[in-house]
């Protein structure tokens, strides 16, 4: 349908340069060495991953750095069979998931892969809450969350 009035198109590009600070810089350096770092709150003793410099609940520093397990359990997941999302680092099909890495106290947001994703029902039969998964790394490291390629189910 032809519009009665004009539409003006305008694309805006805004280059930003974010300061990563010491905590993210150290976390990314860990990823480059295939290590996932968390940090422990000095007061409540919760372990956060990715590592961060403070505990939001206790408002004290969480500067005890620990390398956390690369295995964990699936808390939730969502499967894109064909839908493309702006800003998504992977193409469909993919599974975004919340994963509780062993001995940590929050969920880690990443991807599940290494399985047949063509049939949602089959995926649902395979991925249950609590399914054990482990990190698989990309060969090339960029100091980026996607240095971890995805998490794959651990058999047995």
């Amino acid at each position: 349908m032809t519009k009665e009035y004009n539409t003006l198109k305008n694309v805006i590009e805004l280059p930003h340069k974010y300061a990563a600070g010491p905590a993210w810089t150290r976390f990314y350096d860990g990823l480059k060495q295939e290590k996932i770092y968390g940090s422990r709150c000095q007061k409540c003793k919760k372990v956060f991953v990715p590592a961060r410099s403070y505990c939001p609940a206790c408002q004290v520093s969480a500067d005890e750095w620990i390398e956390v397990s690369q295995e964990g359990k699936v808390i939730s997941w969502a499967l894109s069979i064909s839908h493309e999302f702006f800003g998504m680092p992977v193409s469909p099909p993919f599974i975004t998931a919340l994963i509780r890495l062993d001995d940590t106290d929050c969920d880690f947001l990443h991807f599940i892969g290494g399985i047949d994703l063509s049939d949602a029902k089959k995926v649902k039969d395979l991925i249950k809450p609590g399914l054990k998964v482990r990190a698989v790394w990309n060969e090339e490291k960029k100091g980026h969350m996607m240095d971890i390629r995805h998490f794959v189910p651990v058999s047995g």
Binding site: K3, E4, Y5, T7, N10, I12, H16, Y18, A20, W24, F48, P50, P56, I75, S76, W77, A78, L79, S80, I81, H83, F85, F86, G87, M88, P89, V90, T96, A97, L98, C106, D107, F108, L109, H110, F111, A120, V123, K124, P129, H144, M145, M146
Partner: protein, 380 residues
């Protein structure tokens, strides 16, 4: 100090794409609400706008742009970002402080002219972690839905019923954006956006410019013979990172409790006559029922099965059609308030519920999977 704050009147645009320019829309709703009250721009004490200009408008500091269209220039006014009900409570407080007799609240969002919601909400993320793994509001919602279904056995059919109910109600609302009668199969057969979430279970992008005029008690009584009174308000914001949160134990319970306590509501199931809730994803309406105290945890699916939240049920929810029918992203909380106001006044036309409305609830949410919630209680 003023004792009570009344809503005098409202004006809003329909949700479908308009041929009007944004400024003309702001001008028209402002003019309409002041005309209804029979006052001039000079009589307005303060103006508070709700906006999220940079991404939803493509313009920074945009209140400088629309301020004169809203009759606000030269006035002691302000703007807030995020959940638009924040602008309402800001205006209420300015009147309660005794500094202003009247306040105009504006909610501005022309959804037809900005990028897709998933693109915009991708920038709700931090650049260091969640943006790098592609998070947006729909991804967060699908993760929340999966947990909700797994934990409580909520079914796809129960989620789809929310769409059927709300789009059915929207057929009676001249301001609604999406108007079509659908059944459960239509919803379940729509595209799977992100399994288990279906395309028809995701809110559209709509236009929504709304103006709400508030006044202190004596002025409100002078300006209208049916003022609707502010009774209570509460809000709460959960932690930022999605993984730090329990997505099934969110902050709406806190926001609602704060609003109920202020309003003196002890049994919401009985005392709330109608609720306008913000459900950008269908299943969230069921989860919000639980958090608002309309049913026990895990019982949201059963509540919609019982038809209690239909137009003619015990606790009608979203007689306007809700956000699934009309989603002016930024101003959607104020749209809920405007609709709740019309229900209390008995002026909601064909979408007016049958029973007398003494107390109504308006809810707004912002952020991923309901990170932030605000609840307002109004009544006669």
């Amino acid at each position: 100090m003023a004792t009570r704050v009344g809503i005098v009147d409202i004006a809003m645009t329909p949700g479908a794409e308009s041929k009007d320019n944004f400024l003309d829309q702001v001008y028209k709703v402002t003019k309409e609400v002041l005309d209804k009250a029979g006052i001039k721009r000079a009589d307005v004490g303060t103006v508070i706008s709700a906006a999220s200009d940079v991404f939803h408008g493509g313009m920074s500091c945009a209140n400088s742009y629309y301020w004169d269209a809203g009759g606000a220039f030269l006035k002691n006014g302000s703007r807030q970002d995020g959940e638009s009900l924040f602008a309402f409570i800001y205006a209420v407080m300015r009147i309660l402080s005794g500094s202003f007799d009247t306040a105009l609240v504006l909610g501005v969002c022309k959804g037809s002219e900005n990028p897709e919601n998933d693109m915009l909400t991708h920038f709700f993320t931090d650049p260091f972690y969640q943006r790098q793994v592609g998070l947006n509001e729909t991804v967060a919602a699908a993760l929340q839905m999966r947990e909700y279904m797994d934990k409580y056995g909520i079914t796809g059919e129960q989620c789809a019923k929310v769409v059927v109910k709300n789009l059915g109600n929207a057929l009676r609302n001249p301001y609604a954006h999406i108007k079509k009668r659908v059944d459960v199969d239509d919803v379940l057969n729509s595209e799977t956006v992100l399994y288990p979430l279906k395309q028809m279970e995701c809110a559209p992008k709509s236009e929504g410019i709304v103006a709400i005029l508030l006044a202190k008690e004596d002025v409100a009584k002078r300006l209208t013979n049916k003022p609707v009174w502010f009774k209570g308000y509460g809000s709460s914001m959960d932690a930022f990172y999605l993984g730090d949160r329990d997505l099934l134990d969110g902050q709406l319970k806190q926001a609602a409790k704060r609003a109920y306590d202020m309003a003196g509501v002890s049994n919401p199931k009985k005392e709330i006559d109608v609720a306008e809730v913000c459900e950008p994803y269908a299943f969230q309406e069921l989860l919000w029922y639980e958090d608002l105290g309309f049913c026990a945890p895990g019982e949201g699916g059963k509540l919609i099965d019982s038809a209690a939240t239909n137009m003619d049920g015990n606790i009608p929810v979203n007689p306007s059609g809700g956000v699934l029918a009309t989603n002016p992203y930024v101003s959607r909380g104020l749209y809920r308030l405007a609709e709740a106001f019309l229900q209390v006044q008995g002026k909601a036309g064909e979408r007016q519920i049958d029973k007398k409305v003494n107390t109504a609830l308006a809810h707004g949410t912002h952020g991923f999977a309901g990170q932030c919630h605000a609840v307002a209680i109004i009544g006669n």
